[in-house]
């Protein structure tokens, strides 16, 4: 009797304290930029009706949780069964190989093959998951402010200098605090740097020291922050590699030009509504290219799952052409599924501005430079972005000279390479 009681007590304690998924439970860690969390919940509810034996739990978390806490959980061999992540390559040794588990691996290769390398260890043919959306960095202009100022919106081949000049004129005319804003992120300033000729990748696959292309754009950028052309609020009022978006200033009509990316379109559509007219502009040009940075968020299976077969069923369902199409159309995201792209999309929005913006981003993918296309699948890209944002932030805050910042970027990256032992 005592033994039975002890066993029952131990079981109860185990059940109460366990965070591991039970058989049939699939836990998904998800963050949202817009409405995609609601769309995903709806899709998963339908999946559970079709598959009553599998219980999918969608944990909606802040992006910071995915960025800061998930990697620690993964290192400890813990975590959810599936996660939506942006750090795809650096953590790829934690992703589950779905190749032997999915119903038709060839279907995955055909439709998601182009980005498969972004999320698997170098040299493997692993199927880790699929991109829930393809993103591309690019600009947005407040058309109403430009129109009211009587200044034409710069054309598709306009340079960063053209945009700075025009935005300054608009800001002065319309008395808004800043002409331009770029999200505080290394990823966001890497694209324009590439347009100025930067190549962050060395011949040996490791990070190369900052070249003249990168230095030229970063010098220009810090100058813009110092002279008030670029918003100080976003870049100066934070430290380290802290991410700050500039979307609030744009949504509130406080800035004529905002450089962010395609994932902001749903938010801009919802938050701006009919308050003012806005357009997507693609990426301004530099001497070498007019490129944005491709990237996106991927849905990956975690190799520490207790239910790999159920996880594969969920992934197979979400990767289905009709489901991928519905997800992209309802969440206003650029899809990664080849078949969906080829057959075309009908984005579910009445907002003509949002539809036009998405079309411009689709078009802009054709002007992405080869270097920019390689960055998402490069192990060291996040390391480079982190060093860029910290040190450029310090230079923008007037804490160090640009030359010192450039030297520090190189030493920071070199130290990380050394620490990693790769």
């Amino acid at each position: 009797m005592r033994k039975t009681r002890t066993l029952l007590a131990a079981l109860a304690v185990g059940l109460l304290t366990s965070t591991a998924a039970l058989a049939g439970d699939v836990r998904v860690m998800w963050y949202s930029d817009g409405v995609e969390g609601e769309v995903m919940k709806d899709l998963l509810d339908r999946f559970m009706k079709e598959n009553p034996g599998i219980n999918v739990i969608l944990d909606n978390v802040a992006y910071a949780v995915v960025r800061d806490q998930l990697p620690v959980q993964l290192e400890a061999g813990e975590g959810p069964d599936i996660a939506r992540v942006t750090g795809l390559k650096a953590l790829s040794n934690h992703w589950l190989d779905l190749r032997p588990l999915v119903a038709d691996a060839a279907y995955w290769d055909t439709n998601f093959g182009e980005q498969a390398d972004w999320m698997r260890p170098d040299g493997s043919n692993q199927i880790s998951g699929f991109m829930t959306q393809i993103t591309l960095t690019g600009g947005f202009a407040n058309k109403t402010l430009f129109d009211q100022a009587g200044i034409a919106i710069p054309g598709p081949n306009a340079t960063w200098d053209d945009w700075a000049k025009a935005s300054k004129e608009v800001a002065a005319s319309q008395q808004v605090p800043f002409p331009m804003v770029i999200d505080r992120s290394g990823h966001r300033i890497a694209g324009p740097s590439i347009s100025y000729g930067a190549n962050f990748m060395g011949a040996d696959g490791k990070p190369a020291p900052l070249d003249e292309g990168a230095k030229t754009f970063l010098t220009k950028f810090v100058g813009w922050v110092e002279d008030g052309t670029m918003s100080k609020d976003v870049w100066v009022s934070a430290g380290g590699s802290t991410y700050r978006a500039g979307i609030e200033d744009f949504v509130n009509g406080q800035v004529p030009f905002y450089y962010s990316g395609s994932w902001q379109v749903p938010q801009l559509s919802t938050k701006i509504g009919t308050n003012f007219d806005w357009v997507a502009t693609g990426s301004p040009c530099g001497p070498a290219a007019c490129t944005g940075m491709p990237g996106g968020a991927g849905l990956v299976a975690i190799k520490y799952t207790k239910n790999p077969k159920d996880v594969a069923k969920v992934m197979d369902y979400l990767a289905r052409e009709d489901i991928a199409k519905e997800f992209a159309e309802r969440s206003l995201f650029l899809p990664a599924h080849k078949g969906v792209i080829e057959k075309g999309l009908d984005f579910k929005t009445d907002d003509a501005q949002a539809k036009a913006a998405l079309d411009i981003f689709v078009k802009a993918t054709t002007t992405s430079s080869d270097i920019a296309k390689k960055m998402p699948g490069w192990f060291w890209s996040d390391t480079v972005y982190a060093a860029l944002v910290s040190r450029v932030g310090q230079a923008a805050a007037g804490e160090m000279k640009l030359d010192e910042a450039f030297a520090r970027i190189d030493t920071d990256i070199a130290a990380k390479v050394k620490d990693s032992g790769r």
Binding site: R67, S237, G239
Partner: protein, 342 residues
Amino acid sequence: MKADVPGKTGLGIGEVALVPVRLAMGLIDAPLRWLQRVAGISGMAAFFLMPNMLIFGIFILLPFFINFAYSMTGSTALFLSDRTFVGSEQYARLFDCRNYLDPNTCAEDTFWTAVANTGWFVIIQVTLMIVVSLVTALILNRELAARSFWRAVFFFPVLLSPVVVGLIWKWILQRQGLLNFSLYGFGFEPYTWLNDRNWAFAATVGVSIWAHMGFYTLILLAGLQAIPKDLYEAAEMDGTRPARAFWRITMPLLAPNLLVVVVLVLIKAVQIFDEVYVLTGGGPGTSTLYLTQYIYETGFAAQLRNPGLAAAASILMGVVLVVLTLLQLGLSRSSEKKGARK
């Protein structure tokens, strides 16, 4: 109630409530007596201290030793077993500096910037916190109208989560925040307080004082209320001026509480993190980057984490805290001895 009446028999509610306690005591009495015979009186002291020591050992000492072990290892792996032993390399990296007064000459410049920022923060915040808490406690100790209400008002921020504190003040201080809105209303130009290095630093000091002073005020208030009133009455009868009474009666008798407050404020100031992280994120640049944030970012938030370097920095921070606390305790004891001799 019956049992409380002398001469009456039967069990009252109090007696009934004591039954399980007596039963338990009866049960443990025999084994404890046996243990006392075996271990002796001093052994019993150790036995009763053991649960506390066990908790201290598991949750304080063990993590300290694990942390120390991490500080002697390299690589970005999380598990100690996957990490390589590098000896004092992480400490050497932290101390690799041509001029300690100029962080830019150090290999880990952000560490030394964080050390300098924390040093300034501690000096300014601890001084202001003690002065402000003491003045507030002195005021709240007087006969005020609605005294309880004012005491609650000053204590209220202590109940708030640091994240809430950070967000509230961010909404007040940001460019389109409440402060600028008010200034604009009075005809002043708005100012971006959190973009200015000095104002951002001042904001972190001010916000941390606002958030925590209620707690320290409460400790000092308790000390003030424990001072016998007749001492002040006697001083007044002798014609002592209020300022002299403050320095000769209040301060010496408040010294034990003040010492507790100084130690607690100092430790809390060195550990400052959450509200500042939300308010400024360490910026502008690194002007409000404090040691705990450096440790957090190096060990947990940075791309390719370095737990070894973070552990080494936290060990150094712990050593400084222990030294400061011992110094204060030593100073307090020596002043107590001097007071006793007088």
